[in-house]
Amino acid sequence: MKKVSFLIVFVLLAVGFIACRKPPTDQEVENGFDKTAMLTYYADNIIVPGYTAMVEKMQALESASNTFLAAPSGDAQATVKEAYKQAYLQYQKVAAFQFGPAETALLDLYLNFSGGLDYSFTTSGELTGFSVDTNTIENNITTGNYNLANMSRSSFYSQGFPALNYLFFAPGAIEKYSTNTAARVAYTKAVITRMATLVNNVSTGWTAYRSEFIANTQTNVGSPIGNMVNQMAYQMDLLKGPRLGWPLGKQSNGIVFATKCEAYYAGFSVALAIENLTNLKRIYVGGEGKGFSAYLVALGNEQMNNDVLAQFDAALSKLQLIPDPLSNTLTTQPQTVDAAYKEIQKLLTLLKTDVASATAVQITFMDNDGD
């Protein structure tokens, strides 16, 4: 009897011990680092305010656009351009949050389609990188027969920032509004309304999604931390590829693709790239000791954290040396662009390999299927 009760106590102890041993990634607090606090900081100080600002910038853009569309002129165009730039810059601040509500809305695809990382400039034809599908846009205007919810490349390339880039700022943009005016105005408004609606949906969606976001401190596939690391790496991949490297000819033996620059007609591609990278650093650092930077240190990767921070600065300083419009600089100062490209490449490796590994996050956005 004594033996039996001893056994029971032992079993109970063992059960208790096992139950207490959670895998490290499930812990809200890991090595003294509070992951819930980190996610709360991101949600409340960066993501939610970022989308709120995006809603406001879209309203300003819509208003400037309406003025222009009522009476197209050079002055009105300049006002639209400034509002467009502000909205586009703000978008760079939220682009890396393509999960949760933004993923449901497919925001990045409809607002600023990058063409994806698998589409080659040299082999996949016109609709690659930050292209504009001008044929489809003109066809949509002429026929009035289009569905912006379509999920095809030509659909993505004929709406969002790329479409506005063409409609407002391409050569002869103002004059084009004097032909088939009603249809052209209607299409422009449809594009802006759709952008504003999607942004509103995502902004509102975060109200409900916030609690889910901060409650899940795991780092597995589809977890908030997993998503954030993946999206930082994805945006870095876009910088290295469609934003900078591919227009420079990195995929095409040095053949430059000037028209594939982001916001090609508006001509502030570098400003967008700088804003994008600045914000990635902001996400990485976080604030008040709550961010991936502090998380890495807590996990015992102080040197790696220092390397990442230094590399962010190195890449940013090289990027800032590139004069806009990028489409000209690609041919006038290719070595300046190349210098930034090289630093971005190093930073990408750090984020995609070292940081991902240290945080036990699997990078999932590549088409890495074995066959």
């Binding site: 393509q98 497919l106 994806g116 698998d118 040299t122 082999t123 996949s124 999920m151 088409d367 066959d371």
Partner: protein, 364 residues
């Protein structure tokens, strides 16, 4: 009171008799006493032989590799229909691995619905024309710096062939073999070991399989087909460790006349293998709905075509499968739809339906 006891007793007897009526009719009449056995850590048993299963896998792998030649680069790489015919029939020494040419069998004879899977392979040749694919028109879809060859509905027939063959040949054969072992007498060790080994051969892992090893593509002993999927899509469900362990334990149990353990391992293998197919299928009906894949038909159609192949594997699932006939039909119907329609559905209704069936049925 007495009456109550009596009726309870009667009820118990009735239940007992019902239970005894449900006995498995093939259970051995005269069980041989279990003798002591140890479970090894590698699949090295004295009389192990699964040459034929291994050769069937290698034939399918060579066919797959040949069909994939068409995917290289962005321009047309012609395929030879005769060579494909010969590989299916194993005539005219079609294989690079000459052992396969003299194997004395062909994969067609081992594949269920063989004509369908042959037709899939033939379709690669049919649509390997150099034409750019669009809805209703088969041809090329770019995928990275290369391409895939798809039919009018966007199906990459090469993937439908190889993933379908994994179901209709390897999985189906393994299930049949393991079920046959379950029906054997515990004394019939030679026949059971032969069948068990063949089933192991269809898994295609090295005898010292190790889930912690990342096998290099140049490694001649690297896991192939299902063996590769243990790591590619089965890590989260511990498919590799579970299935390999069960193969070791079951094979050892056969030698020890331990039919109970043997049969339990067979069930573990079949259940986990089917769940592995589900995990792969789930990945391939989910990946095309991610924003990083949307707008990239090459990535989306490639995944859906693999998904089609894995869904077809459920046609050959064990009788006690968790997947109902109705749910299988729903999955099959969805994956047989026009892929251009599936990737352009608002909210991806059909693919989400498929995801939910797979998640709920297989606990994924």
């Amino acid at each position: 009171m007495n009456k109550n006891v009596l009726s309870v007793g009667a009820l118990a007897l009735a239940i007992l008799s019902i239970t005894s009526c449900k006995k498995d009719p093939v259970e051995p009449v005269d069980p041989t006493p279990i003798k002591e056995y140890t479970v090894p850590t590698t699949y090295n048993f004295a009389n192990t032989d699964y040459t034929k299963a291994r050769q069937a896998v290698l034939m399918a792998v060579e066919l797959d590799a040949y069909l994939k030649i068409a995917n290289a680069g962005s321009t047309l790489v012609a395929l030879d229909q005769n060579k494909i015919n010969n590989m299916f029939a194993n005539t005219g020494n079609p294989f690079t691995n000459t052992d396969l040419n003299s194997a004395g069998f062909n994969i067609t004879s081992l594949t269920s619905d063989a004509s369908l899977y042959k037709a899939y392979a033939d379709s690669v040749v049919m649509f390997n024309t150099g034409v750019t694919a669009s809805q209703g028109v088969g041809g090329f879809v770019p995928r990275g710096a290369n391409k895939i060859v798809v039919g009018p509905n966007g199906v990459e027939y090469g993937q439908a062939f190889i993933k379908g063959t994994m179901g209709a040949l390897m999985f189906k054969e393994a299930v049949a073999l393991l079920n046959s072992v379950k029906s054997m007498s515990d004394a019939d060790t030679a026949a059971a070991q032969k069948a068990w080994d063949a089933a192991f051969g269809y898994l295609s892992v090295p005898v010292n399989y190790d889930t912690s090893v990342v096998y290099q593509s140049a490694d001649p002993l690297k896991p192939l087909l299902w063996g590769g999927y243990l790591a590619e899509r089965g890590k989260a469900i511990q498919a590799g460790g579970t299935i390999f362990q069960a193969f070791l334990k079951g094979r050892a149990a056969i030698g020890g006349y331990d039919a109970t353990v043997r049969n339990a391992q067979a069930d573990i293998i079949m259940e986990k293998w089917e769940q592995l197919a589900a995990a792969a299928a789930l990945n391939y009906v989910t990946a095309p709905t991610a924003s990083s894949a949307i707008g990239n038909l090459g990535t989306q159609f490639h995944a859906l075509s693999e998904g089609l192949g894995f869904i077809m594997a459920f046609k050959y699932r064990p009788a006690n499968s968790k997947l109902s006939a109705a749910d299988f039909q729903t999955l099959s119907n969805i994956l047989h739809k026009d892929f251009y329609v599936l990737v352009n559905q608002s909210g991806f209704t059909d693919l989400v339906t498929a995801q939910n069936i797979l998640k709920n049925t297989y606990g994924l």
